[in-house]
């Protein structure tokens, strides 16, 4: 038991890594064991996430001091070895990621995961990177995990065929490689100035830095901030995002809804630690607010202009990133908990929405997706299909293979209900938690503004968030009418239980989030309090501070 407890923080990384590697040994025909492995690994991650949530909460203060668990790789103590640190924020993010991953996995098994060996392996490696990025307590380790995450995401985004996908994938990879170079430069400058990469050690050494080093450090932090903003999809560094997300397969888009939030998380984590006494995420300072508002407006414009549902949903990802960045950029500490609540609901929502696009696409009669019974169209372009390069048969998600599983009755009614729920969630209308999140965000921002001296900015944020919600209603209503009410020549898609159930479960989870908003917000407030008091983090990782005047 105590063995398990000691090694619990590393499980979200080790489990998918083992599962992913084991899958490499299961040949393509052995689908059953592979799916079982994937489900077991993801389910165990969810269980681990839930236990981490419990262990970091007030309910179990006796296990980890201050609710912060530290796992030292190989037993090397903190400033020298690499550590994993579990605090409440990390536990929340890991659990959220696991919920999303499990839903997406079930959804993808219904139809989208063939050929499954590369898909499931990449999916597990994506989870390795994601969980690692949330848990790590070391700046360079953060880089490595984000690279693992990105490498898996490159593979996932290129699944399927078509010129669009390869072109968008090309842009996606190029932008992220440049961002990775920026990240490395930032890490190097920070190391050169502060002499350590352990986040807690950085936070502790920072006040003692001499002025010339401090300037260098700030430059490094700013470069890091730019790299994080690219990952988060902030304007003007986000033109790759809508194109890539819209052409990716629906389950891939669904799990990518979480990827931009890794950037936001990194910003929040590193920002609160290195800025010490200054308010939240002042790594990029005031600029973060303006970046956020610009992102929000760009996303809103994109939503109004988008013609296809998948593209529209990608722009809602941009809008949610913009809202998060702008709210963090206000620098009001009380805002962190509503921001986290908004992050959770927006991730769940956009993910559900991406899954939904995979089903509504099939109602379009002319689309390849609608033509399940007809001959599948060959890849439009003559020449080498992309997958030929790897000697793999193209994935054929629309089913020349026999479909496994049961179809659900009244598919259109289900689609309509799910669509309406998603619209309510995205635009922030009551009674679903999208409303609660935005309401908590705006009321806190406006209530705290006079004290924090950012009144105008708060009102600008309120205006922009409400305007983007309104624009979202307009755009989604238009798409909804086209999808469901212009009935001529629509085909009724055959929905499998495996696809419909994750969507239903995620929507119900959102309803549950609305009902249990008070305890969830309470937990997030304690998480926010803990990240705004980095002394607890430093104490847990490094132990008591040495007496001042000791050896440097």
């Amino acid at each position: 038991m105590s063995f398990l407890l000691t090694h619990l923080p590393v499980l979200p990384i080790v489990l998918p890594l083992l599962a992913g590697v084991l899958m490499l040994f299961l040949g393509e025909p052995r689908r059953g064991p592979r799916i079982a492995l994937a489900l077991a690994s993801t389910g165990l991650q969810l269980a681990t996430g839930a236990s981490l949530l419990f262990l970091t909460s007030d309910a179990a203060p006796f296990i980890w001091t201050e609710g912060i668990g530290v796992y030292a790789f190989g037993g090397w103590p903190a400033p020298f070895g690499i550590v994993l640190v579990v605090d409440r924020l990390a536990a929340v993010m890991v659990t959220l990621g696991a919920v999303l991953a499990l839903a997406t996995l079930v959804y993808s098994i219904a139809r989208w995961d063939r050929p499954g060996q590369p898909f499931h392996t990449l999916f597990q490696f994506l989870l390795v990177g994601m969980n690692g990025a949330f848990l790590t307590g070391d700046l360079f380790n953060l880089f490595v995990f984000i690279e693992v995450l990105l490498a898996a995401s490159y593979g996932l985004v290129l699944r399927g065929t078509g010129t669009d996908r390869v072109r968008s994938g090309f842009h996606y990879v190029a932008v992220n490689l440049v961002a990775s170079a920026m990240f490395l430069i930032g890490v190097a400058v920070v190391y050169g100035a502060a002499g350590t990469l352990n986040l807690a050690d950085l936070a502790r050494r920072l006040p003692a830095l001499v002025a010339s080093d401090r300037i260098l450090f700030d430059v490094g932090a700013a470069i890091l901030g730019i790299a994080f903003l690219v990952k988060a999809g902030s304007w003007p560094l986000n033109f790759w995002l809508p194109g890539t997300y819209a052409v990716a397969l629906p389950p891939v888009g669904a799990v990518f809804a979480m990827l931009t939030k890794v950037g936001v998380y990194a910003l929040l984590r590193v920002g609160t630690l290195v800025s010490g006494d200054v308010a939240a995420a002042s790594m990029v300072g005031q600029a973060l607010f303006y970046f956020g508002i610009a992102t929000l407006l760009a996303g809103t414009t994109g939503m109004l202009a988008a013609q296809h549902l998948a593209r529209l949903v990608s722009y809602t990802v941009v809008v949610s990133t913009g809202t998060l960045l702008a709210a963090l950029g206000l620098g009001i500490e009380a805002l962190t908990a509503p921001v986290l609540f908004y992050l959770i609901t927006s991730v769940l929502t956009t993910s559900t929405f991406f899954m939904l696009t995979g089903m509504t696409d099939r109602t379009r009669p002319g689309s390849a997706a609608g033509a399940r019974d007809q001959e599948l169209p060959e890849p439009a372009v003559a020449g080498t299909p992309f997958y030929m390069a790897f000697g793999v048969r193209e994935p054929d998600p629309y089913g020349t293979e026999a479909e496994v599983g049961f179809a659900i009755p009244r598919a259109i009614a289900f689609l309509g209900l799910a669509f309406v729920s998603c619209v309510l969630l995205v635009t922030g209308l009551p009674p679903l938690p999208g409303f609660i999140a935005k309401f908590a965000l705006l009321s806190t921002a406006i209530a705290a503004a006079p004290a924090a001296g950012v009144t105008t900015a708060s009102w600008v944020l309120a205006g922009a968030v409400i305007a983007s919600g309104f624009a979202g209603i307009v755009a989604l209503t238009r798409v909804g009418i086209r999808l469901f009410w212009t009935v001529t020549a629509r085909t009724t898609p055959r929905l499998l239980v495996g696809e419909a159930a994750p969507v239903a479960v995620l929507v119900l989870l959102c309803v549950g989030l609305a009902v249990l908003a008070a305890p969830v917000l309470g937990y997030l407030e304690s998480a926010a309090a803990s990240i705004h008091a980095p002394q607890g983090y430093m104490l847990a990782v490094l132990g008591p501070a040495p007496a001042p005047g000791g050896s440097p």
Partner: protein
């Protein structure tokens, strides 16, 4: 030595950024490669340039060379190598699918 080193990084990074902004895919690839060279050298330089020193604290040695940036560079090289190889495959796929080597997959209108 510092000046030469800094100049080398600057030239590599400058050429990398210029190539990165060119419209042909192979130029972008070369730009990324040069940029990652510059980054790796930069990380190395951030450990301070010293010569003839062991990478560990040894008795009798006049000092030591910081081993951490060397480890970081090693990791960065491996990751950069992998992603560049993937990028190359993608470049070839794009070329095969669209018949052009423009980054947008189509020739600009003249």
């Amino acid at each position: 030595m510092e000046a030469v080193y800094a100049l080398a990084i600057g030239v590599l990074a400058g050429s990398g950024v210029w190539l990165l902004l060119r419209p042909r895919t192979f130029q972008v690839l070369m730009g990324l490669v040069l940029l990652s060279y510059a980054t790796n050298l930069f990380i190395f330089g951030m450990g301070r340039l010293v010569i003839d020193r062991p990478p560990i604290i040894a008795a009798g040695a006049p000092g030591y060379a910081d081993p951490v940036p060397q480890a970081l560079v090693l990791t960065a090289i491996v990751i950069g190598f992998g992603t560049t190889a993937l990028f190359l495959v993608l470049l070839l796929a794009l070329r095969a699918l669209t018949g052009t080597d423009h980054v947008d997959g189509r020739e600009p209108r003249r």
